[in-house]
Symmetry: C2
């Protein structure tokens, strides 16, 4: 065909077993396609996840959060370099909010990660969030499982601290780092209480700027007042010069507070998975988005009662 691409997209694998095997054997294209299938909740996503699950359970999930401009991506790039030096396979999941306020800088950060793009031991995946109000992308948990089954031993999940993203990171990460800087008006008093309680490791980045000592003193003071479940570390870095990254990695390796929560994590996940399946079952049995929209408009106009509508819809599933 005239004008057809000289790099045609390979046909997707037809056999689930072959696909799984390719992922396990380090085929990056098979992996990328699986991630897309899972992210889009495609028809073969559940089959893939079921097959890949038995190869998971060993990876560490390193959550990294902080305000825009704190230097998270540069830090994560340095962390990748350190982990590669000790021979570990590392995947990075970067969750990008679609906010018009921060979109630009995130794009810039992503560019910096290109320094690893020829290393087969580093895999970087960006995911967009749904909407701009924060929160992780819905399939983040499943994406991390696929990456782990593909052999990545350390999985970094990097999110801008917007809205509820950091709360969700705490649920799925083995250890959470909160990146602060002396330069950004990050007075400890203005830090959100929720964020303080989520962090296991505080990273004071740009620690060569004035105010780093003050920030650390304030952090230590606040932490001494708090009742934290697990020991919290504070490390100082200058990400752009690669300083302090080894110490950060050391803090990440020694922190073990969240590992015990695996049962609790799967309890929450099971409820989520069941809820989603129940809703899909209702949809399959005839409930449509159109019907919900129509009912919602009737309810908004007070021509229908939501408690009756919900009962009626749920009654359609047997028992």
């Amino acid at each position: 065909m005239i004008g057809a691409s000289t790099h045609p997209q390979p046909a997707p694998p037809t056999d689930l077993d072959a696909w799984t095997t390719s992922i396990r054997n380090g085929d990056r294209r098979a992996l990328a396609r699986a991630l897309t299938e899972v992210e889009n909740r495609g028809p073969r996503a559940d089959g893939l996840l079921r097959a890949l699950f038995s190869f998971t359970g060993k990876a560490r999930r390193l959550g990294v959060t902080g305000a825009p401009g704190a230097g998270k991506s540069t830090l994560v790039s340095g962390l990748c370099t350190c982990l590669r030096q000790s021979g570990e396979q590392v995947a990075v999941v970067a969750v990008d909010p679609t906010s018009p306020f921060t979109g630009g800088s995130i794009l810039g950060d992503r560019v910096r990660m290109q320094s690893h793009h020829n290393d087969p031991g580093v895999f970087i995946r960006s995911m967009a969030t749904r909407g701009s109000l924060g929160g992780l992308a819905p399939a983040t948990d499943d994406v991390m499982l696929v990456l782990e089954a593909a052999g990545y031993e350390q999985i970094v999940i990097e999110t801008v601290g917007v809205g509820q993203a950091e709360v969700e990171v705490a649920k799925l990460a083995s250890v959470v780092s909160l990146v602060l800087t002396p330069s950004m008006g990050d007075d400890v008093q203005t830090l959100k209480a929720g964020i303080m309680e989520i962090a296991d490791v505080f990273v004071i980045n740009k620690a060569d700027l004035p105010g780093a000592d003050r920030l650390q003193t304030e952090l230590e003071g606040m932490l001494s007042l708090a009742e934290t479940q697990s020991p919290v570390a504070i490390v100082r870095t200058v990400a752009t010069e690669g300083k302090g990254i080894e110490e950060w990695l050391q803090a990440l390796r020694t922190h073990s507070g969240r590992e015990r929560n695996q049962t609790l994590y799967w309890e929450g996940r099971l409820f989520d998975m069941i809820r989603r399946r129940l809703m899909e079952k209702l949809m399959v049995s005839g409930l449509s988005q159109d019907e919900i929209q129509h009912s919602a408009a009737e309810i908004a106009a007070r021509r229908a009662n939501p408690y009756e509508v919900a009962d009626e819809i749920v009654a359609r599933l047997g028992n």
Copy 2:
């Protein structure tokens, strides 16, 4: 009985119609008991909500959020005074996170609201959030419906800007105010992108402090760059002296951006209500919290596959 209280709790109403009528007639005890029933998702909550729903749809829901110490409770107390002067019935729902970092100051703020406690036209209800990671209390929507059915025309929902609370406030409020102060290091650059997009009205409280002009200039600059859906107002207040509250109320009254979203709101609510009912149906059909916990432990130990477990549980509901 020796030592029995001299203020025995009255017996709960036995008849749903009588209960509903009492609430509609301004019986504050009947209202308080209904709120408790709804908050605890008691056995009669759905019946009450169904009966009360037809009396709702007119109230305005005023969301007020901001960092701890910004003066939200003093502002809200002033707002109540203004609304009472124009003869409106007003209810305040104060959502308290259980954070050890902020618990003290919230308690102090609540005390200030006592100035309205002899006025039958003001009803104040505190709700605790579940856990410390922010977010509204689960039954907040239903609590607001009950208050509206009881005749309150203006319903203020006040939340500390922690974690995901402000995102959830945006979903249920007619208009959202974000309270900032010049004194708290609230540099516009450090404001979370999600919060900026949620706010309809920016309140610069403690506007007598140095930095108020700079904060307003920065806000205006940032807003001129943003693509906002609805016009945004900036007002300046000194809550402790009652200054600027009338102007704030005026901004709240003239802002109409979110009123159109009622259908969208009910769409989301319907999905939530259906999800909860489906899960209750599974529980009634024999699924127990114990079984989920046991399965979660098996999954965490990789002795069970979560995708298989979820499919098996969902298959128990017919169709």
